[in-house]
């Protein structure tokens, strides 16, 4: 399959890419990992007359730690995060990176591309919403920092202006005693999940001091399940509180019926994923090393 013909522009710096976007107006798309964009172009759902390739810009793929914050260059591939010792310090990040699609897609796809695409079924948004995450956005007039919750506006829609691009993702390291887990349920490796749940809990003894829970694939964007969080915050983690959190997650989900499952099926599924992820999060908060992987049907 051929995409519609387009003009190709290779940016030498992020600044130059922003300038190109500004000059080419709405007609241009950025090419990062291309694992969503290229299939869309081949199916001719997307027909940009201009592509600005970011892949040849040096120093856009990095993972660093600085003052309690992890920083990811926009073009950092999922596979690099999967194998990063720095990223492994926040286990929920490793869960996500190691489970996205398959080896080949993880070798190309980027964290910045995933967030800027804002696909409701993308993995990163749900995971990063449970952490304190901000994104750096670079435009012709300079840079700004936006909280991730303000960055993602709607399905496939972000706060980026047409001549702006995402340059860096910054994630605050959770406090001591905090543990998280991300679970996605997929029919097979290469497909988008049917539903996913990210849970980050901060424990103090048996009590849950703080909880953040986000759901993927069950609304127009990844969503926070704030009622589910409230059901755990300040409470001991037991069957009663976990079931309350699970019920609250099911209620807040607004999935659409499609080939991956009916509305009821996805609601039930996302509740079960929340329950399981809470279990892993508690164990990790207690210092246990737990291997968490995506679930295949």
């Amino acid at each position: 399959m051929y995409p519609r013909a387009f003009s190709y522009h290779r940016a030498a710096s992020l600044k130059e890419a922003a300038n190109m976007l500004s000059q080419l107006s709405d007609d241009a798309k950025l090419l990062a990992g291309g694992q969503s964009l290229i299939p869309l172009m081949k199916l001719r759902f997307a027909n940009p007359p201009h592509l600005v390739d970011l892949n040849f810009i040096p120093e856009t793929s990095y993972i660093t730690e600085d003052g309690g914050q992890l920083r990811f260059g926009a073009l950092t591939r999922h596979a690099d995060i999967e194998s990063s010792a720095i990223a492994a310090k926040i286990p929920i990040l490793h869960d996500c990176a190691a489970g996205i699609a398959d080896v080949q897609v993880r070798n190309r796809g980027t964290i910045g591309g995933s967030l800027a695409e804002a696909d409701p079924s993308g993995d990163w948004a749900a995971v990063l919403m449970t952490l304190s995450t901000e994104v750096r956005c670079l435009g012709v007039y300079g840079e700004r920092t936006i909280q991730l919750s303000d960055f993602i506006r709607d399905a496939y829609t972000t706060a980026l202006a047409h001549d702006e691009l995402l340059s860096e993702v910054r994630v605050r390291t959770p406090p001591k005693g905090s543990g998280g887990a991300y679970l996605a349920f997929k029919r097979s490796a290469p497909v988008y999940p049917t539903a996913s749940a990210a849970v980050q809990l901060t424990m103090e003894g048996d009590l849950c001091k703080d909880a953040s829970i986000a759901l993927g694939c069950v609304a127009l964007t990844a969503i926070r399940a704030t009622e589910a969080e409230a059901a755990l915050r300040g409470q001991p983690i037991n069957d009663k509180t976990v079931n309350a959190a699970m019920e609250a997650a099911r209620s807040v989900a607004e999935p659409q019926s499609d080939m991956r499952g009916s509305v009821d099926y996805k609601r039930t599924l996302v509740g079960a994923l929340v329950k399981r992820a809470i279990g892993y999060a508690v164990r990790r908060a207690g210092g246990e090393q737990v291997e968490v992987s995506h679930i295949y049907a």
């Binding site: 387009f6 003009s7 291309g34 694992q35 398959d102 080896v103 490796a189």
Partner: protein
């Protein structure tokens, strides 16, 4: 009316051989390999980033060549199934796929072998779980996968000390 699209000059190495070409931006890497370089061992299966039949190595990393533009491979080293064999001798992975009946129709096989090549380059003794994870992006509709696992385990054995 569409203006003429400018062709982009690229240089890349495929299976160790250097090429200097001018390509239309929308040409996919798999089309460059098959149609321009006549390397038809790389197959197109689903053409939608699912099946992995088009898997090649890009600087040693397995990628789906139907989901990359050829212009993006500028400066890269690409390995296709044709590059596995050395001087008429099958690569241990190729030999193991034959010995273990790790294929039936063979259409998906080049992709599997290159995914296996990335795995075995980084992990000399993969567990079955690690093999499953490494080939999760490759689809086979004939074998049921069991003999593919065996072939990759056998290849790891054969490559010991290599």
């Amino acid at each position: 009316m569409l203006e003429a699209i400018e062709k982009i000059p690229i240089q890349l190495k495929v299976n160790g051989k250097a090429y200097s070409l001018k390509v239309e931006p929308r040409i996919l890497l798999v089309e460059l390999l098959r149609e321009h370089l006549d390397l038809t061992g790389t197959h197109v299966g689903c053409d939608t980033t699912y099946c992995g039949a088009c898997t090649v190595l890009l600087n040693g990393a397995a990628v789906k060549s139907c989901t990359m533009f050829a212009v993006q491979a500028d400066g890269a080293e690409v390995t296709t199934v044709e590059g596995l064999e050395k001087e008429g001798t099958l690569h241990p992975i190729q030999k193991a796929f034959g010995d273990c009946y790790g294929l039936q129709c063979g259409y998906c096989t080049p992709g599997f072998m290159l995914s296996a090549a990335q795995l075995l380059e980084k992990n000399k003794k993969p567990s079955e779980q690690e093999i499953r994870k490494a080939i999760a992006g490759n689809t086979c509709r004939c074998t049921g996968y069991q003999n593919i696992f065996k072939a990759i385990q056998q290849a790891a054995e054969n490559m010991k000390g290599a």
